[in-house]
């Protein structure tokens, strides 16, 4: 396990060096999307229409932030549970998405798709939302303002602390971690 400074957009070479268990400080532009936005993005892909942002090398953060106060860049913004996006993720990986950030494990289908298309899944600490907000240096809604907290935002993050859960080799930090600490009765 190592500590890695990573900058978006991500490419195959960067991704191939990441291993499950690595600590990552992520910087650069990332995009927020959760349940409702994923539904809309996948509809656009199905209809062959343009997307609100370029998926090539992109990182999606599963988050619905609390609304910012006047003068505040970002209010509390911790990860939401990732499995709810599992049914949408393989299609996005096929289209060039390289990274996702959330909490909780992914389905085997998503894990296989990350191995096949070269993608990585990062965990942020769920509930540590006020701390994570301080790593967000800029934020703007770029699509689906009507969805409120579920709108798509472009964030500029600086050294956002993450852990690599799933790497391109097919490893999974949840499985490994639980196996290490499970006590048989």
């Amino acid at each position: 396990m190592k500590t890695v400074e990573l900058r978006t957009p991500l490419d195959e070479k960067q991704i191939s060096t990441l291993e499950s268990g690595d600590k990552v400080f992520l910087s650069g532009e990332i995009y927020t999307a959760r349940d409702a936005a994923h539904k809309r993005i996948v509809s656009l892909i199905d209809e062959g229409r343009d997307l609100p942002f370029d998926l090539q090398g992109a990182v999606i953060y599963y988050v619905g932030p609390a609304p910012s106060r006047p003068g505040q860049v970002m209010n509390s913004a911790g990860p939401t549970t990732s499995y709810r996006m599992d049914s949408f993720t393989p299609l996005l990986l096929e289209q060039g998405l390289k990274g996702t950030i959330g909490k909780g494990p992914r389905s085997m289908e998503v894990r296989d798709s990350m191995v096949k298309h070269g993608g990585v899944y990062f965990a942020a600490v769920g509930g540590a939302a006020a701390g994570i907000a301080s790593t967000v240096k800029a934020a703007e809604v770029i699509a689906y303002d009507d969805l409120g907290p579920e709108a798509i935002r472009r964030l500029v993050v600086e050294r956002m602390p993450l852990f690599v859960v799933n790497d391109v080799m097919g490893n999974d930090l949840f499985e490994a971690g639980i196996a290490e600490y499970k006590r048989e009765e």
Partner: protein, 281 residues
């Protein structure tokens, strides 16, 4: 008869909606601190420290602990000698939620139609309100913002007498095991046994309101709670599900009598940000 203007209820709900989302109860913070001392996993300890640091940031910056500021769960105990004036009680509660979530910039997480349109109501109403009429001339308000991630890992199962306490234990441990890292462990596990189908679920949620460290009033169920906590922490799920000793901070059981044919059991999972507070008017 004591008259209480519902505007007082609105004000109290508003204040609670803000304070509970920023300040975690002392017992929860203490449970997290002591779990840090016991945690064997280095990654688990790092995560617990991040969680504890986040409480300090939330308090000093007056920011919500978690961006998921929850569905507004409100338990009301209305004294039967109280005469509420000035409007409808539930409207007053919803107005408190509306004002609190707006003024403190808390996230609005309620959709009006749960399946077809799923349009956000924009003000985090309606609150989910449970009202009991009790003796006395006061109104007690308990406010608990409940996040969606942990709520989604909850379940009700209609068990039978033949399943017995062994069946209950297996169900509770299995429910936590299947939840893995999804509900933001370390969790608090609320268990409701008895009543009927829907009442068991409410018991489980009420059980989450008990202070961590306060024993179950029934010594037999207190033992069951201790055994379940040990079994759950032996699962190895750990902080955020990434492995470790601290999967749950506490297991709280509430029971009620039930029908001879039934044994409803509900498990309500609460994330580590176990937010709740109360006011008596």
């Amino acid at each position: 008869m004591r008259e209480i203007d519902v505007a007082v209820i609105t004000e109290a709900v508003k204040d609670l909606s803000i304070s509970t989302n920023i300040y975690l109860p002392d017992d929860v913070k203490e449970a997290l601190r002591s779990s840090l001392e016991k945690e064997e996993s280095p990654l688990g300890r790092e995560i617990l420290q991040v969680i504890l640091d986040n409480h300090d940031i939330a308090e000093s910056e007056k920011m919500p602990i978690c961006q998921d500021t929850g569905a507004a769960i409100v338990f009301l105990e209305v004294g039967q000698d109280v005469h509420l004036v000035g409007g409808a009680l539930e409207d007053a509660v919803n107005e408190g939620v509306r004002q609190g979530y707006r003024e403190a910039h808390l996230r609005k997480s309620m959709v009006a139609d749960p399946v077809l349109k799923r349009k956000n109501t924009g003000d985090n109403t309606p609150a989910i309100i449970y009202t009991r009429i009790v003796p006395g001339d006061k109104v007690k308000i308990v406010f608990a913002p409940k996040g969606g991630g942990a709520e989604n890992m909850s379940e009700v199962r209609m068990m039978t007498a033949a399943d017995g306490i062994k069946g209950v234990k297996n169900f509770v441990v299995d429910r936590v095991s299947r939840s893995g890292g999804n509900p933001c462990p370390p969790v608090v596990v609320g268990v409701g046994i008895g009543g009927c189908f829907e009442r068991s679920a409410l018991l489980a949620k009420e059980a989450l309101m008990r202070r961590i460290g306060e024993p179950n009033p029934d010594p037999d169920f207190d033992e069951v709670e201790k055994e379940l906590l040990e079994k759950i922490n032996n699962l190895g799920i750990g902080p955020q599900g990434l492995g470790g000793r601290t999967t749950a901070l506490a297991v709280h059981i509430r029971t009620l009598p039930c029908h001879i044919a039934s044994m409803p059991v509900a498990v309500n999972i609460q994330c580590h940000a176990s937010r709740h507070g109360e006011t008596i008017v």
